[in-house]
Symmetry: C2
Subunit: 327 residues, 2 copies
């Protein structure tokens, strides 16, 4: 194994999430990532400390194969970003402003580094080596604290005119509905993100919904989306209704994506996707009732194949695409 690793050429992939940092090595030719490590992000300690942690994790994985065998580093980070300057402009989840991430990592590591949006990396990872391998048109949707999206067309991320495409979470499906943090109303993120599920569950409990969730916590504001998923899996009626409603709203958004882009595959990842069939069954049912039949038939809606590593795999893939022209 050690010998194979030394003979292979690698790309280091980094996924900077709001909760976890993940680093690993992806074969330049494509294939399962190795030497994957993760650590809590602990964003509160500030960007310098987080970057120091990433650099130390990178040094460890690069040492495993020898620096000469690593072509470079691909990083996925929440945006908005200035990709050409390698700067994270603004990340509400991490509290970062104008962090020159590429320079801060390239300089101690001494390898070329590229930066891309985390949702693009997730989608590209699932396209390159995951559930949507090689699809001509793929949309990746991440159901996490927020809802992200990445569009892969013809083997490359579709970025749009100002690098702002793929904002699936801010499609409004209820124009006069719930206020979203972005300032608009009825964004699917305002209903179906992890934090929105938490808020909606807390509202239901506060209105007196009969649920194990009420007993599970002293303070209803302490309910997490994960707890709602678990309670639903355990048969809690209120939690099941919450997940069903969430799934149907995500289904409306995905029907809109299908109407507009008629993709071959929609890959869904992120923590909330862990609810599995509890989420996917009503979601697919909603799509069946809304999308046009030929377009719905042409589109697989699947769970991510690499929920934990698609981000770092995709970041490595975008590195290869950038320096090599294709993967």
């Amino acid at each position: 194994m050690a010998e194979r690793r030394a003979r292979t050429r690698w790309i280091a992939g980094v996924d900077i999430g709001g909760t976890n940092l993940r680093v690993g090595l992806v074969p330049f030719a494509g294939g399962r990532p190795v030497a994957v490590s993760s650590a809590p992000t602990c964003a509160a300690r500030g960007p310098a400390a987080v970057v120091e942690e990433v650099v130390s994790m990178l040094r460890m994985v690069i040492a495993e194969v020898g620096r000469a065998n690593v072509a470079g580093v691909g990083i996925g980070a929440p945006g908005p970003l200035d990709r050409s300057r390698g700067v994270v402009l603004e990340t509400p989840n991490l509290g970062w402003h104008d962090v020159p991430l590429v320079d801060m990592i390239a300089s101690p590591i001494g390898l070329p580094v590229i930066l891309d949006n985390d949702a693009n990396c997730f989608a590209f990872g699932e396209w390159w080596l995951g559930a949507g391998r090689g699809a001509e048109r793929l949309i990746g949707v991440t159901l996490g604290t927020g809802i992200g999206g990445g569009i892969i067309l013809g083997g490359a991320p579709y970025r749009g005119a100002s690098d702002a495409a793929g904002e699936v979470g801010h499609m409004s499906v209820d124009y006069s509905g719930r206020r979203c943090a972005c300032g608009s109303r009825g964004c699917v993120e305002a209903y179906a993100s992890g934090s929105a599920i938490t808020a909606r569950a807390a509202e239901g409990i506060a209105r007196g919904a009969d649920s194990a969730l009420a007993a599970a916590v002293g303070d209803p504001a302490g309910i997490t989306a994960e707890m709602v998923c678990k309670a639903a899996a355990a048969g809690d009626g209120f939690a099941t209704l919450m997940i069903d409603e969430t799934a149907r709203l995500i289904g409306v958004a995905i029907s809109n994506l299908i109407h507009l882009l008629n993709p071959d595959v929609v890959v869904i990842g992120g923590g909330v996707a862990g609810a599995g069939e509890l989420l996917f069954a009503p979601l697919r049912d909603e799509v069946k009732h809304r999308a046009f039949r030929s377009a719905a038939r042409a589109c697989r809606i699947v769970q991510a194949e690499r929920p934990a590593t698609a981000g770092l795999v995709g970041a490595a893939g975008v590195f290869k695409l950038t320096v090599h022209g294709n993967v």
Copy 2:
């Protein structure tokens, strides 16, 4: 002029609309269409009679330049279509089923014929020779009896996995809202198409709205979208409110398009777009309040430059793209 026409190579473009047929000649090299003629569609007479009319219009324009100078015929028709077989599968507006349009025209005309979706042709026409000339990413939206859409990426129509992309009108912006003819709920078409405006105005009048529209017609069901636009332009309060609401809902849909595709330009055509600033001012205001700033700034939202001929120009353009690889 006659001499120039004989020296130029041409493509005949055909736009089969629910209301009008339009035929014209577009220079193969691009440029203003000439010899444009139009006739009422009179769909009730059936497909054979409509096609006979198109063939006779084509014969007239082709005779103007000589058949040897015409490379072929591009046709835009409402869908869904089977483009490869050249068949109109189903058009609710025309009442056609499985009409082999390409064969029915190619055989009497004796020139190569290609067929594409009318909304794609509109978008491609505005991209080739209209308001969105050469834009890397363009979305065309037609506000007519229904709401259609076409997406142009990298100089070609984006068609999706089963030729069903661009269905802007069926994006749901109100998931539990008005029932749409497609079976879903809250589609923007269910609020903002010509027929939806008519229906909403009739509902308002029936509820006793104070409007000149009530006096203008004995039967409120006889109100047309054009009448609503005209009454709004004349300062009628109820009609102005109707157009404002319509514009805001279209603005929600366009904000969704901007979030998802971050286009350089959105070109809006069709009868309802004729309302001009009455429609465009609140529409742009809504986008300003919903879309992300960088993406909204990157995107021009403009009225079609060739509202009457974009369809036939685009059909000719798609013909050229198909036989020549580019325009």
